[in-house]
Amino acid sequence: MSTLAKNRIVGTSVPRKEGVDKLRGTARYVDDIQREGMWHGATVRSAVPRGLIRSIGFDGKIDWSEFTVVTAADIPGENHIQMIVTDQPCLADGQVNHCEEAILLIAHPDKHKVREAANAVHVEYELMPPVFTVEESEKQQTVIWGADNCFKNFQLDKGDVDSAWSHAAHIVEGEYRTGAQEHLYIENNGVIAEYSAEIGVTVWGSLQCPFYVHKSLLAVFNLPPEKVHVVQTETGGAFGGKEDYPSVIASHAALLAMKCGHPVKMVYDRIEDLAATTKRHPSRVRHRTALDANGKLLAMEIDIATDGGAYSTLSSTVLSRATLHSPGPYVCPNVRIRSHAWATNTVPYGAFRGFGAPQTVFAVERHMDEIAAVIGIDPVELRRRNFIHQGETTATEQLMREPVILNKLLDRALAESNYYAMRAQFAKDNASRAIKRGMGIAAFYHGSGFTGSGERYLNSLAGIDVTADRKVRVLVSSTEFGQGTNTVLTQVAAESLGLDYDDVVMAPPDTGIVPNSGPTVASRTAMVIGRLIERASQQLLFTLHEQAGLPEQFSRQQFFSACEQLRKTAGEVVSLCRYEAPPGIFWDDQKYRGEAYPAFAWSVHVAQVAVDTITYSAEVEEFWSTQEAGRIIHPVLATGQIEGGIAQGIGYALYEKVVLQNGRMANNQMTNYIMPTAEDVPPIHVFWEELPFEHGGFGAKGIGELPHDGPAPAILNAIRDAIGVSFNSIPLLPEDLFAKLSVERKVEEPATV
């Protein structure tokens, strides 16, 4: 059992493991890499949201003999991208179901010529009626996917919701909407692929999950596992946008490499990446809530609808997390949740930090403030009366075994932000000012790791080995993309083995070298993989004690000598461990009941927002975040995750809008997709409470996604506080504020400045 006592390496802010390379500009991202004889690939994409492909014409102005062209007919294995289901074609074959769907691929040694050629392919379509909204899809009048347009649905029931309405003192309803959001990693998607009969397929690329790509390539190429190699290159940001999409671009580049006989690089420019790759699922969430006279929750009825785009990709798992986070960190005896992921003829939506939780946490935390307003209770107090505590059960009847310190987190957030005093001051000042200020809060949890039996299913394998030149290598397929995987896992190994931080390195993220420790998603790495590295380290020490004469107290020298001793007898020095579920984790996938997550991270956000009634702009002036996420392995990295996640959440709430026209992203340039700059982000104050989680690496729980859940509701709650008008839809742009305010005439005329 890990305690807070050890702090030689774990718990300290050591230098980022790959930091020097990044700072010197010597880190090699995929577009920095050339392979000898490399060609360039381009994709011809659908111009229509739905239709049959009637013909494909190749313009005579191009000498096509120079080019390699790949269509669905060239696929040796299955024409699908292996995700959870296999509905998404690798290349469209006869029909397209979204704008920008890949139809064919072209390769050429000259990257200018290949683009020119792609523009010289003329596709003719027979249009079919598209479906663009959840509302249209759920009507099922035009069926565009499966039998009923529904990728997935869940039903979650606790207690008896219908019994509660009649004796409720209050019933409050609300509808909340969230828009699509683009990851906007500063490095676009890109891969280089090679093919040979002897070696098979090799792909180097910007990606989160080498073995996801590996699995997908197996299907496309019909090759055995040892003939597919996937290597992650230094990755310039991901946020979930490189969880599933790389399987698509990797398949494309590899097919071209196979057919043209040369390595092929495919790196998207920003215009293509924005238009053609995954984004966060839009959502519509409806709440109907029964409360007693004291504001205690009696029943929650929640209806969730997500827009999954044209193919299911990860819609079912996103919906699952959305469902499980929708009731908020509250205890409620009666809960009914119905959720659906619907198909539309838009670019498939996929994984994005938070993975369904930002959508439904927005809804429930806005709804709590609406409830507070309706029944006349302070929104803070309303939450306190309903927070879940250790020993109570969640909506899935999971017994909350871990301590829940929400009240403490809330106390701290309120104190640090001077919440009550500031609100009182604003209430006084706002009447005479054009800029009106308010404070808002959000309280939430984020389930760490895969849902339910997910981790068992992943069955991750991870560990360490020791090289002859005295380096310990961490063997994982968990990847670094800025969040600190390399640093945290090497810290864990170094601490567990009693070595120095510099003694430990990461093995290359190459499926031919490392075991499958599962995808780098779901905030699972420090907790689940960290624990595996801890165990593997302990296991190695045990072996060294038993078989190589390593004494109980040992020096670094002695450690490495013992390793050499072991190498002589065992041939190698390696220690791998498989995932073991914490005891008592039971999850019923049919009834959606049981232990949804092995651990929860908890957080409270407070936002101070200024609404300019002259321009209708809302800006976050300051932001506070308190959280508990187990043991913090690296304070600077952890705080960096919170700050970065909050900045993205602020973008999600107030700046980032995906504008669709005919199912295509019309604002697919950085000048028109707006994220906050260094002048827009407010001061962000981060405060930690640490309660080690027994089954996480050195007590860690997940951190990465937690901070993206809170900002949007906190901000919109603050806006309500500032101007007394409720907004229930994000992104909330000045035009949206203007539209509602000019109708409601709630805003006073701008007073003398």
Binding site: R24, G25, R28, D31, E187, F239, R270, M670, T671, V681
Partner: protein
């Protein structure tokens, strides 16, 4: 239509000649002709700043500079920050304060930060915000970057920054 032309550049102190079409972006010349891949392309529109370099002491987005316009100029890229293997104070500060996460915005961010400190050795946070407003970072939320720049500012002299 446009043949390659010989263009002289001084890059990180070295006099170099490239043979490139005049309209080729300075960014592409650095990355492809000179194999200095530290400078990155994030958007191609001058919005993200990951291609930021210094040209004759000015901060510019190299994706917007045709190489002909960079002829006979003094170019500084991230590769020129460290000296004889010793990290520049900014690089050291970023390492200590967590100013780099995924690292793709980092080269441009460092050049913009260097540019700021050359002109304003002791900037306020407001001045740092403005100086870095053209460099988008999606990972950090900018807080650690501000701290890194403040840390570098307090620990060095102007002479060092102008290096």
């Amino acid at each position: 239509m446009s043949a390659a032309t010989k263009i002289q550049l001084n890059v990180n102190g070295a006099n170099l000649t490239v043979n490139a079409p005049p309209m080729k972006r300075l960014l592409d010349v650095l990355r492809e002709d000179l194999h200095l891949t530290g400078t990155k392309e994030g958007c191609g529109e001058g919005e993200c700043g990951s291609c930021s370099i210094r040209m004759n002491g000015d901060l510019v987005n190299s994706c917007l500079v045709p190489v002909l316009q960079a002829a006979n100029t003094k170019i500084e890229t991230v590769e020129g920050l460290a000296c004889d293997g010793v990290l520049h104070p900014l690089q050291q500060a970023f390492l200590q304060c967590g100013g780099a996460q995924c690292g793709i915005c980092t080269p441009g961010m460092l050049m913009a930060a260097k540019h700021l400190l050359v002109h304003n050795p002791h900037p306020t946070i407001t001045e740092i915000r403005e100086g870095l407003a053209g460099n988008l970072c999606r990972c950090t939320g900018f807080m650690r970057i501000f701290e890194s720049v403040l840390s570098a500012a307090t620990s060095t002299t102007q002479e060092t920054h102008a290096r």
